[in-house]
């Protein structure tokens, strides 16, 4: 069954695919810089009435937690990446490279960019795994 993006069910599935992927275990191993928050901007025309924040707590190749959070809690994490629904959809469909998108301003980053770039393999693996989830996009 396909899962709505974003939703609690989707983030839970994301945690599972990451922790079941030996590739992510290796690619994510060097990452010790803390949790990432992803903010999807509101898009009332497709039913997304408010901004949604979800926190992905990854550490050394393990996803310790993945959950929808309040905006306040999300903003406290060391990396906060914000984008429109369409941009996130392109990332999940592997049409948009998230690191390049950050440098071009399609996604907005609060946090230390060099840390993300150094871990570009971990970032690629995160995307690869997100693309494995059977996702229902709200505009489809």
């Amino acid at each position: 069954m396909s899962l709505d993006f974003p939703s609690e069910a989707w983030t839970a599935a994301y945690k599972d695919v990451l922790n079941n992927d030996p590739g992510y275990k290796v690619a994510g191993a060097p990452w010790t810089a803390g949790a990432l928050t992803f903010v999807v901007k509101a898009e009332p025309s497709i039913g997304l009435k408010e901004d949604v924040s979800f926190i992905l707590d990854v550490h050394q190749g393990v996803c310790r937690d993945a959950k929808i959070s309040t905006m306040e809690e999300g903003a406290k994490q060391p990396f906060v990446i914000t984008g429109s629904y369409a941009q996130w959809k392109s990332v999940i469909k592997k049409e948009l490279d998230p690191v390049k998108a950050m440098m071009q301003g399609k996604l907005k980053l609060k946090g230390n960019l060099p840390m993300i770039v150094r871990n570009v393999k971990a970032a690629q693996s995160l995307v690869e795994n997100a693309s494995k989830i059977d996702t229902h996009f709200l505009d489809e």
């Binding site: 950050m102 301003g105 907005k108 980053l109 609060k110 960019l113 060099p114 770039v117 393999k121």
Partner: protein, 388 residues
């Protein structure tokens, strides 16, 4: 030289560019246009103490000059920016004029962030996270140059982490880039050559970046031709205002090119070497550039053909890769002609540090735009050994 069918790009060009010999003597008019009443000049101790440049700006500003912050340091650190911002706030600054090389302009950009958004500069690190206009900023380069007067980033060193970090945003573009060749004639030969080759590296790297696009290419190619002709002239005749002016234009064009198309592996290595060994940024870029060009010779299609022509080569009848190799050889000869080295060893970089440099280069933002993906530290180390 053509583009893929699925080309998609953004080209941003915000600063108003004001060019002309002695144009800076009417900086007061630009301040009026921007509504400035209390201007703080941001510069370093040498330019403030040993040249008449601050005095020239001050004459045009009159009583709208609220103070001179002369605490800019090469490769600006976060504490130096915070100190500058505190100074400007204390003087009630409503407009900044940065005067100097890339270090002064980057400090000015970062101070504008802190003045507008509060807090300390490291609280604002990130990309495209700023949301509104900053304190107005006029950038007056005295080197030619980093092109920072045209770009959307400021590079700040965090001494606590021993690492360079960035704030990048369209709001960081200065409002005005004020290019006055009489402000660059005082540059000693070494600085002229090194900053000129920094601009050359920006242009060459923008041309081969995966984000290259027609508008940045046009700027990059024009910059390369101007530098090839006018850098030797500026060195032979330091007070040649025409040559100095053409070099300022080249640096500005190269800045526009790389602010949109970015730089890649050459800069990633230069940033890493700079952080570890404190050698001047442009000197490092010059030393590395011919080697990097050879490294990518098979990956750049026909894009180096015009680089070879600009440097006096004849590529007719050559295949793309052979033409690219010729361009690299000509670039090496050009670096020597302007009095710089293409050997890292001669710059005091110890061979033992190269593995660490290679490792560090992988975490530099620029590296992801390389014309072919570079992810293996061993590959970078081999290139560095060739350049050593």
């Amino acid at each position: 030289m053509s583009y893929d069918a699925d080309l998609s790009f953004v080209f941003a060009h915000t600063p108003k560019v004001v060019f002309g010999a002695r144009a800076a003597d009417s900086v007061g008019d630009l301040v009026t246009e921007l509504g400035g009443q209390r201007t703080v000049i941001v510069t370093d101790a040498f330019l403030a103490g040993q040249t008449d440049l601050v005095k020239r700006l001050g004459k045009s500003l009159g009583d709208r000059l609220a103070g001179v912050f002369s605490g800019v340091i090469p490769d600006p650190t976060a504490p130096s920016v915070d100190e500058g911002a505190a100074f400007a706030r204390e003087r009630g600054a409503d407009l900044l004029i940065s005067l100097g090389g890339g270090s002064a302009i980057d400090t000015g950009k970062a101070m504008a962030v802190v003045l507008t958004e509060g807090g300390k500069i490291l609280e604002h690190e990130g990309y495209h996270a700023l949301t509104r206009r900053l304190t107005p900023h006029i950038a007056v380069p005295t080197t030619a140059g980093t092109g920072s007067e045209m770009t959307l980033v400021t590079v700040i060193t965090d001494p606590a982490r021993g690492q360079k970090t960035f704030v990048g945003s369209h709001f960081l573009h200065p409002d005005v880039a004020l290019l006055d060749p009489t402000f660059t004639t005082g540059m000693p030969a070494r600085l002229t050559a090194a900053t000129g080759m920094d601009a050359m590296s920006h242009a060459v790297e923008a041309l081969i970046s995966t984000l290259r696009q027609p508008l940045s290419d046009a700027a990059a190619l024009q910059a390369i031709e101007l530098i090839a002709t006018h850098l030797p002239r500026a060195l032979a005749q330091p007070d040649d205002l025409h040559a100095r002016g053409q070099m300022l234009l080249a640096a500005c064009l190269a800045g526009t090119a790389f602010s949109n198309a970015m730089v890649s592996l050459n800069h990633a290595m230069a940033h890493s070497l700079g952080a570890l060994h404190h050698v001047h940024h442009g000197t490092l870029n010059a030393a590395l550039l011919p080697h990097t060009m050879r490294f990518f010779a098979a990956d750049v299609g026909d894009r180096f053909t015009r680089v070879a022509s600009a440097l006096g080569g004849a590529t007719r009848g050559l295949g793309d890769e052979a033409a690219a190799r010729q361009a690299a050889d000509l670039m090496q000869a050009f670096v020597h002609r302007v009095g710089l080295t293409t050997r890292l060893g001669e710059l005091g970089v110890p061979a033992e540090s190269l593995p660490q440099v290679a490792e560090l280069s992988l975490s530099d933002g620029s590296i992801i735009y390389s014309p072919r993906p570079v992810m293996d530290p061993a590959e970078i180390e081999a290139l560095l050994r060739q350049a050593h």
